[in-house]
């Protein structure tokens, strides 16, 4: 028994009918920034929660001339990023890159690249739970109504509770934003450090949630404001030290445990950014060790 005769797949895996359906959802999402458009998410050959939404969006917009970059946690070489990149190489034979600047489409999980994105680029986010109100109100029928009627008081109740309990807003990632003054949106579990990059971005930002069957978008040059209080304004994380490898300041850093005696170092979460800086001669305080090791 063989399946060789039936296992043929279309360019970028999805059939053209499905791609058209997803593109319609994307166009609607772009037309209503921040609004979650339901779409008939397909089963993908990777598990739900592993980027099926992002993969479907990418598959629907990907053309043969595109250059694709895939990152997970900011890095091109994390296993899931490797796997998704390999998937598109296999089913679309598309050019791939790790360079932010060279990519036309960047699919991401949990980070926005440090380098400023430019007009013509598209950033595709993988979204696990698209509904920013979900943990305040579990019912879909109710949250849709709340969006429709702009009833967002509950969102601030949560922020109020943070401040009352901790003295400051204790949401560190998936920090809710208001898009173009209308819809409250979940930026996906990116650290709030990345929120300001969404505001007035030159690139198109698309969000795909496969399991939850939602697509939403932030078109280029759209206002994206992180929710806060007048007397407790939104703030991003800051790091005490620069990247140990490239010396970058004002970037998001990963903490790396070096030994069992509490030794740690901080390095760029965006691996491409780090490499570009190292290549152009920037050095952090542990860069020397790294070279010696290689």
């Amino acid at each position: 028994m063989t399946t060789a005769d039936l296992a043929t797949y279309n360019f970028a895996y999805l059939d053209e009918q499905t791609k058209r359906m997803i593109r319609r959802a994307i166009l609607k999402a772009i037309a209503i920034p921040g609004y979650q458009v339901p779409f008939a998410s397909r089963e993908m050959p990777m598990p739900y929660g592993w980027g099926t939404g992002g993969v479907q969006v990418t598959a629907a917009i990907l053309g043969p001339k595109d250059v694709l970059k895939v990152i997970d946690q900011g890095a091109d070489d994390t296993t899931n990023a490797v796997s998704i990149r390999a998937f598109f190489q296999k089913v679309a034979n598309v050019a791939v890159t790790t360079k932010t600047r060279a990519a036309t489409i960047i699919q991401t999980r949990h980070r926005i690249p440090e380098e400023k994105l430019t007009s013509g680029q598209t950033l595709v986010y993988q979204v696990p739970i698209p509904e920013p109100l979900r943990f305040l109100e579990p019912r879909e029928t109710e949250t849709r109504k709340m969006h429709a009627l702009e009833e967002y008081g509950l969102m601030h109740v949560k922020l109020y509770e943070d401040i009352a309990r901790n003295g400051h807003i204790a949401t560190t990632y998936a920090y809710p934003v208001k898009v173009e003054g209308r819809y409250v949106m979940d930026p996906s579990p990116t650290p709030k450090f990345d929120n300001p990059k969404m505001h007035m971005s030159e690139a198109l930002q698309l969000f795909g949630a496969g399991r939850e069957k939602r697509i939403y978008a932030v078109p280029p040059y759209t206002e994206v404001v992180s929710l806060d209080f007048e007397d407790h304004p939104f703030e991003i994380q800051t790091f005490d030290k620069p990247c140990a490898l490239c010396g970058a300041q004002d970037v998001y850093l990963d903490e790396v445990v070096l030994d069992d005696r509490g030794g740690r170092m901080f390095v760029c979460s965006d691996t491409d950014h780090c490499e570009q800086r190292c290549a152009s001669g920037h050095r952090g305080h542990l860069a020397h060790d790294k070279e010696a090791a290689e």
């Binding site: 059939d15 397909r42 997970d72 980070r111 399991r211 994380q237 903490e255 542990l286």
Partner: protein, 366 residues
């Protein structure tokens, strides 16, 4: 000394090579063949077909083998294949009344037209391990009865003759049955979509929910009107031809659960129904599905919604094991960027806490 982790690609490829080795296992044994899985692990194959919503025994068996017997993984593989298949059309509703019945039991009538037929059932086997299966012993050919010649009436049709049970129900004028694999799912759902979701829902999840209704979380006083397993014809309307064309036969299991009666000023009291229909032979699933279907109709019958099994959003949002397994298992993916943010926050809060403690100390000493 820090070296940035590289080589994810090589790690993945090595892992998959190891997986292939473990899947093959002891090379001195013959590899299990797809035909053997289809023939001898038929109910596993049926479950994969049912929950993958694709009726193809060979592909389901291939998925079972590829998944090393992990049912949900096999369902997932087959689903991911199914989703890429083009749709040529939608068949006519299958006529289960005309089923070529292999098993048919009713708990509501001692005897009925078409009779009670036990068929290939585990019921009344004593669950004793059978040493004869350790070897390849000769198995007797089954007995075949004479063609009864009598139609196997559906129990719901028998009851409907007296108006004692609600009829099959009708969809609003112009309602085209939905397709949850092609259209976005939205709540509240119509029953057609709900049944589709239940039919591909996880057997274990539906079993637990159905069980919960029996234990008092939304009791519906159910009776198995009948369970029937057998082959039905699948037909497709051909507009060009002006008639329906048979595509072949498939095996299905259907359960009609007769439940608590209901009446109103307009309608005299009559029994209500829960419905289950599943690919292949899967009685447990069809029965559980019919219990849950009935529980989910609470609103339609003006019943209070007090239990999980009655809650459409809860049941339908969590019944799909491919979705569930993906999201539960995605927790093993790296989350270190978010964790870093939380780590930073907890450290900061602990510093604040300690600072506050230190400030309090002198006062306490006084």
């Amino acid at each position: 000394m820090y070296v940035a982790v590289k080589g994810g690609e090589a790690a993945i490829s090595n892992a998959h090579r190891l997986l292939a080795d473990r899947r093959r296992g002891d090379r001195s044994l013959p590899a299990i063949r797809i035909e053997q899985i289809v023939a001898q692990l038929g109910l596993a194959v049926d479950r994969v077909m049912a929950e993958a919503s694709l009726y193809d025994r060979a592909l389901a068996a291939l998925a079972v083998r590829q998944a090393r017997g992990d049912m949900i993984e096999a369902i997932f593989i087959l689903r991911a294949y199914r989703t890429t298949l083009p749709r040529f059309g939608y068949s006519r509703p299958v006529e289960t009344g005309a089923m070529l019945v292999e098993r048919r039991v009713s708990a509501t009538y001692k005897d009925l037209p078409g009779g009670q037929l036990l068929g290939p059932t585990f019921d009344y086997t004593h669950r004793l391990l059978d040493p004869s299966l350790l070897t390849d012993q000769e198995v007797e050919a089954p007995l075949e009865r004479e063609e009864a010649g009598e139609p196997v009436m559906r129990v719901s049709d028998i009851l409907a003759g007296e108006g004692l049970v609600e009829d099959d129900g009708s969809l609003p004028e112009g309602h085209v049955p939905g397709d949850l694999t092609r259209e976005p799912l939205e709540f509240p759902m119509a029953r057609d979509l709900r049944l589709q979701a239940l039919s591909r829902g996880d057997e274990g999840f539906l079993l637990a929910l159905g069980y919960s209704t029996q234990r008092g979380y939304a009791r519906t006083h159910p009776f198995v009107g009948e369970v029937r397993i057998g082959e039905v014809e699948v037909e497709l309307d051909m507009p060009e031809l002006g008639f329906a064309v048979s595509l072949g036969r498939i095996q299905v299991t259907e359960c009609q659960m007769i439940a608590q009666f209901k009446g109103s000023a307009k309608n005299p009291p009559q029994f209500t129904r829960g419905y289950g229909l599943v690919f292949g032979q899967s009685e447990r699933k069809a029965m559980a599905m019919s219990l849950v279907d009935r529980a989910l109709r609470a609103e339609e019958f003006g019943e209070d919604i007090v239990a999980p099994a009655q809650d459409e959003e809860f049941v339908i949002s969590h019944s799909d094991n491919v979705q569930a397994t993906g999201f539960v298992e995605h927790l093993k993916l790296p989350h270190y960027v978010d964790f870093q943010a939380e780590l930073d926050l907890v450290r900061r809060m602990r510093r604040d806490y300690e600072a506050a403690q230190d400030k309090d100390l002198p006062e306490a000493a006084e």
